[in-house]
């Protein structure tokens, strides 16, 4: 048995022993745990699962141990992920810091920044949000205007961010700010880490079509931020941000992975539409289920293929550019098909008429519309493929 097979068996056993049975079902939106100062557990098992994974360093399995990570190599981290999927373990916590900011701090941060932020992130003690978009800077992010002006050892920050997911519940924000208003638009931007408890910050939630309000408009008025909180070079924030967005796209594509969705289309179709000689009774719906299944399978195989290509140093990684586009568009199509399958049962907003699952499907369908907008819209993804991969002219 090679070293990775051995690791797999150990992980499998450890998960069996340590992941409470109630944590082995898909988590509803309100059952997800976000790390941070205000963490609230709904059950003892949830807390146990959180603490056990935390103590292993497995919130950030592939980070170095000295920064609070699990010290696993890429392959081991992938094995952990696969075994968790196999047992259907819930993520013990969700954390933007770990997916996006952490890897960037590891690459660009000062030693002091790493020491201060990474271990707390890896222990799920601080919740981070991302302050990039502004009312006038969305797809054209580099048009952002929030100012950070030098004042001794500090910056004074003024302006507004919008669509900031969970800003009202976060402890810190990593924000792109303009540090040189005279420079060309990509050259005057910096990445700043800001404590959300600093005086002068206000976060106002915005309601979504799904009835949730997971993002906010955030106002900054004369907010004082130590200069030591600037990541990378002054005015060098754009390249840091680009790297960060790569991690973001990868994370978003992963959410859409085959294993995450709790809905098995063909079972629901048989249940709601009926069955004829083992087949979904309506041949049109059956064929549409095939479309989604085939694309989900093809996508999962593509994730696997690019990982293996990277490992072998083969291929050019071009396929990674399609992840965000494909997975989010597929998720939306799946939402629409679920709606067709459930028919009137998917049109309830609330009340006892509808089962919890039906109501959840409706809300998930509405929520799926956000996927191809946040983190760079589908159109922007296609622009990127056309220019960077296919080399088409500007």
């Amino acid at each position: 048995m090679d070293k990775h097979q051995e690791f797999r068996q150990q992980v499998r056993q450890w998960l069996r022993d340590n992941c409470p049975v109630s944590m082995r079902t898909p988590a509803a939106e309100d059952e997800q745990i976000w790390g941070g100062r205000h963490i609230e557990f709904q059950s003892r098992e949830q807390q146990q699962w959180f603490e056990r994974m935390r103590d292993k360093g497995w919130f950030a399995p592939d980070w170095p141990i000295e920064y609070g990570g699990g010290g696993l190599d890429r392959k081991q981290a992938a094995i952990l992920n696969q075994e968790m999927t196999r047992l259907q373990c819930r993520p013990p916590q969700l954390n933007l810091g770990i997916w996006m900011l952490g890897p960037v701090l590891l690459e660009f941060g000062s030693e002091a920044q790493k020491q201060e932020h990474l271990p707390r992130m890896a222990r799920g003690e601080i919740r981070w949000c991302q302050g990039f978009s502004e009312p006038n800077a969305g797809s054209d992010l580099a048009g952002l205007q929030m100012k950070a002006e030098s004042d001794g050892d500090d910056y004074i920050v003024n302006g507004a961010k919008i669509w900031t997911s969970y800003a009202n519940k976060s402890d810190w924000i990593y924000a792109l700010v303009r540090t040189d208003p005279k420079a060309a638009k990509h050259d005057g931007i910096s990445l700043l880490l800001i404590d959300m408890t600093s005086p002068g910050i206000e976060a106002k939630p915005i309601e979504l079509i799904s009835g949730e309000s997971h993002f906010c408009e955030v106002f900054f008025e004369n907010v004082r931020v130590p200069k030591a909180n600037l990541v990378g070079e002054v005015n060098g924030g754009w390249s840091v941000a680009k790297r960060l967005m790569q991690h973001e796209r990868a994370a978003i594509a992963n959410f859409g992975g085959e294993s995450e969705s709790p809905y098995v289309l063909h079972q629901l179709a048989k249940e709601y539409i009926g069955e004829h000689q083992g087949r979904i009774a309506d041949p049109v719906i059956r064929d549409q289920v095939v479309s989604i299944d085939i694309n989900e399978k093809a996508f999962a195989l593509t994730l696997r293929r690019t990982m293996e290509e990277a490992k072998q140093g083969a291929g050019n990684g071009a396929a990674t550019s399609i992840f965000k586009y494909c997975s989010t568009e597929q998720q939306k199509q799946k939402g629409e098909l679920l709606l067709k399958i459930l028919g009137n049962r998917a049109l309830g907003w609330e009340g006892d008429d509808y089962s919890d699952q039906e109501l959840a499907i409706t809300r998930d369908w509405l929520q799926s519309k956000t996927l191809s907008i946040g983190g760079g819209t589908s159109e922007i993804q296609l622009n990127i493929i056309a220019k960077r991969v296919l080399g088409l002219p500007a």
């Binding site: 179709a269 087949r279 059956r286 095939v290 694309n295 399978k297 093809a298 293929r305 296919l390 080399g391």
Partner: protein, 380 residues
């Protein structure tokens, strides 16, 4: 096992790329078409393929094969797809050879497989009878007569049916069209059969065959009488996966040529590739092709895997054939549209790809067939 080619397989792919580009460019197919070549392939090129050993790739060493596996064969066929090379490799060697390997007895294998590998023999699988591929609907009858069988019925669109020395005829010894049970396989000399060549859009060789009281000995049976369906389907899955690899190569070539044209063609004073409407269409083709590629690699991997069950292979075969079929449809149509007027001319080679891809799409089950089969295999 991985969805990536090994170094050895990449080396083979490079050899194949160079070989087909030099020996069998699309212009060679044009010439075969224009001279109405009856074989539908170039005999010299075929001889070279034999010498390169590609025929033996999937067969065991004791039968003269190389045991190199389907991943490697897939890499070769993908390159053949880039230049639309036509040869008996897929229909005769891979498909008919697999039927012999999986259904035949020892003697039949030893007699036929080395001959296929060495290019001494061509065998055509006579299966389809109707407008659509569907093995279970086979109606051609084989009725027992003493120690013989008598065959009556029709086979149509038999690839290489016009020039193969032998035929493997799928016949019904019991049951009714639509039943999977009751199918049998017979090895028949092609001499005794009435053939009518049929010209198809891809300029390859294809024939309609009439069986009118054709008598064959019971020794001609490959495998058990009445129980052929599962092995036949298994052999067909190999062909389905391999033709998907070939189609993938053709689609990749079409995309490459189209993207190159978007960069070189100018209108309104700029390259047409600077128009975002076209950029997005190109990007979507790229994304779809990457998805399709993964399904083909997974299916080839499963054929080589010792662990994959027949049913897993079948599911992946239908996944690949369905996804590749859909993507080829998209890319071949877009390739024409994005070339404008020149795209619909016979002078441009794009049309050759369109024609070949439609024939390949119908072969061994079209997209609709495989979508439905995929659903059935997944329990719905």
């Amino acid at each position: 096992m991985a969805l990536v080619l090994s170094e050895e397989q990449r080396f083979l792919q490079d050899t194949a790329r160079e070989f087909f580009q030099q020996q069998s460019p699309v212009s060679a197919l044009r010439q075969l078409r224009d001279t109405r070549d009856a074989k539908g392939y170039d005999g010299d090129v075929w001889q070279q393929i034999v010498e390169l050993g590609w025929n033996g790739m999937i067969f065991p060493e004791e039968l003269g094969g190389l045991d190199f596996g389907f991943m490697g064969l897939g890499a070769v066929l993908e390159q053949a797809g880039h230049t639309l090379n036509s040869s008996p490799l897929l229909d005769s060697v891979v498909l008919a050879g697999s039927v012999v390997l999986l259904a035949g007895n020892d003697q039949q294998r030893r007699e036929l497989i080395p001959a296929l590998i060495e290019g001494r023999l061509r065998i055509a699988l006579a299966l389809d009878e109707d407008s659509h591929h569907n093995p279970a609907t086979t109606a051609l009858r084989a009725s027992p007569r003493d120690n013989n069988y008598e065959l009556n019925g029709q086979k149509r669109y038999v690839a290489n049916g016009g020039n193969a020395e032998h035929l493997i005829v799928v016949a019904r010894t019991s049951g009714e069209p639509g039943d999977q049970a009751g199918l049998s396989l017979f090895l028949v000399s092609a001499n005794d059969i009435q053939k009518q060549a049929s010209t198809r859009i891809d300029s390859r060789n294809c024939a309609n065959l009439t069986f009118d009281q054709v008598t064959v000995s019971e020794n001609a049976l490959l495998g058990s009488a009445g129980g052929a369906f599962p092995v036949l389907d298994q052999a067909l899955d190999r062909a389905r996966i391999c033709v998907s690899a070939e189609m993938l190569g053709s689609a990749q070539e079409l995309l490459d040529r189209t993207v190159a044209y978007l960069k070189e063609r100018n209108q309104f004073g700029v390259p047409i590739g600077s128009f975002q409407a076209l950029q997005h269409r190109a990007a979507i083709m790229f994304a779809e092709l990457e998805l399709a590629r993964s399904t083909v690699m997974a299916a080839l991997e499963a054929l080589d895997s010792k662990e994959a069950t027949t049913e897993e292979v079948a599911t992946l075969a239908s996944l690949a054939k369905a996804k590749v079929g859909e993507v080829c449809q998209l890319i071949s149509n877009e390739a024409i549209q994005l070339h404008g007027g020149i795209g619909v001319t016979d002078e441009l080679e794009i049309g050759f790809f369109l024609k070949r891809l439609r024939v390949a799409e119908q072969s061994f089950g079209n997209t609709g067939f495989h979508r439905s089969r995929f659903a059935t295999l997944n329990g719905y």
